[in-house]
């Protein structure tokens, strides 16, 4: 218990430091002004959301092959945490887009992909609530999770070919892209922090799921006795 409080406080402190860095350490962007600072939360959230969905995919695959409930717990934990980051991504995007592009939303490739991704994993979580038997639920949701993750590159490819308006990738983009050094530092700090937050949240959610399974087991034993 003590250890958990300690870890949680470190995560909270790190997040506060990240917020401070993006608001006061990073220089103000020359064209967009101060609204650009939301980028430090926005872009890493997207990367971390994808990372969580990848963890979910790994959990799904491992469950299908090993059938150990722990992989199912990892799958659902990662999917829920990924959903949280994906929601942050979808909410912070329009806040930035409205002053910069003049519109809240546009059906550009990456925006549409994020939306479809969000819907796919909402469906994944909904499916889990609609199957009662735990083993059945674990198996069908694992297979659906695999299908959903395989769909991601296809959705992205199809929309990319079709239309795109989002700013070209700033990091690892073409020539002329790249961040000012302090900005890059703050961005990396944010990314590392959000990965830590992701691991922390998945771990907590996983423990909750494990506890639930244990309670179910004890209940069944009590009924049997």
């Amino acid at each position: 218990m003590k250890k958990n409080v300690l870890i949680a406080s470190v995560v909270v402190l790190l997040m506060c430091a990240a917020a401070y860095a993006s608001l006061f350490v990073a220089p103000t962007e020359s064209k967009m002004g101060t609204i650009q600072r939301i980028f430090y939360l926005h872009a890493p959230s997207g990367m971390v959301a994808l990372l969580s969905f990848f963890v979910c995919f790994v959990g799904n695959l491992a469950y299908v092959f090993t059938r150990q409930p722990k992989w199912d717990w990892l799958g659902v934990s990662a999917a829920e945490v990924g959903m949280a980051f994906c929601t942050v991504l979808i909410l912070t995007g329009p806040i930035w887009a409205h002053p910069v592009w003049g519109i809240w939303w546009t059906w550009d490739a990456r925006l549409t992909l994020t939306f479809v991704l969000w819907l796919l994993y909402i469906s994944y979580l909904l499916l889990r609530t609609l199957v009662d038997d735990p083993d059945r639920r674990a198996m069908v949701s694992a297979v659906y999770g695999i299908f959903a993750f395989l769909d991601v590159p296809l959705v992205y490819g199809s929309i990319r070919w079709w239309r795109t308006q989002h700013p070209q990738p700033v990091i690892m983009g073409g020539p002329g892209s790249g961040l000012e050094p302090t900005m890059r530092l703050v961005f990396r700090f944010w990314f590392v922090n959000l990965v830590i937050l992701m691991i922390f949240l998945i771990r907590e959610r996983y423990r909750l799921e494990a506890m639930r399974a244990e309670v179910k087991l004890i209940e069944r034993e009590a009924e049997g006795a």
Partner: protein
């Protein structure tokens, strides 16, 4: 080889079941007709307008129809627990999926062949010159619909609220199929018709990816 021969026998069974009652095909055709008529109220179907909207409407109608048509695919095997019998009768459970997805592809292509002329008359679009190319696009799109739809109907059949769940699971997954088929169809219905091989290749990739996934993971969906 036994996989294909098993699948062929099961495909025969699927087709026989359908052509004895013809329930699925008639309801699907009527459903798409209803959707096409309802769409015409939402915008003015003059020929220049419909060129822009028609391919999308057509594919949306097929997508919705497919998400309803695929419902009974595994559900009707539950009534007399015929799914257990099917599983016992084949060596590789993938044969069951293969038969069902081939049957569903055939049903979808059939409804498209029936409805395309009706659609072209109602929306003032000439399809006569590009009919074979259109059928190729329809076949590839329907295959993508059936592969994912058959897998997901095996999933949704095991859940509560299954009638609502299948469209919910299926439609977001089909985004790439909708885009690729609509674009390929639009290019064919254009004033200067063109067969877009890039979108056809994309559909082929989609079909291949999910057919492989179904082959690898489908059997886990049929366990007791």
């Amino acid at each position: 080889m036994s996989l294909l021969s098993n699948a062929a026998v099961l495909l025969g069974k699927e087709l026989r079941t359908e052509f004895r009652s013809r329930e699925l095909l008639t309801t699907t055709v009527v459903f798409i007709l209803v959707v096409i008529v309802l769409f015409s109220f939402t915008f003015d179907p003059t020929s220049s307008e419909s060129r822009r909207f028609a391919p999308g409407l057509l594919w949306l109608a097929f997508l919705f129809a497919a998400s309803l048509m695929l419902q009974p695919c595994f559900l009707r095997e539950q009534n007399n627990d015929t799914l257990s019998a099917l599983r016992l009768s084949v060596h590789d459970p993938f044969a069951i999926f293969l038969a069902k997805l081939m049957a569903n592809t055939l049903f979808l292509v059939f409804t498209q062949v029936v409805l395309l002329p009706v659609f072209s008359i109602l929306y003032n679009i000439s399809v006569a010159g590009v009919f074979p190319q259109l059928m190729l696009v329809m076949l590839m799109g329907s295959l993508g619909l059936s592969v994912t739809g058959t897998a997901l109907s095996a999933i949704s059949a095991q859940a509560r609220m299954r009638e609502l769940l299948l469209p919910l699971l299926l439609l977001p997954l089909l985004t790439p199929v909708l885009i690729a088929s609509t674009e390929a169809t639009a290019a064919l219905l254009d004033a200067k018709p063109e067969l877009r091989w890039d979108w056809l290749g994309f559909l082929l990739a989609f079909d291949a990816v999910f057919l492989t996934a179904l082959w690898l993971f489908g059997e886990y969906l049929l366990e007791e």
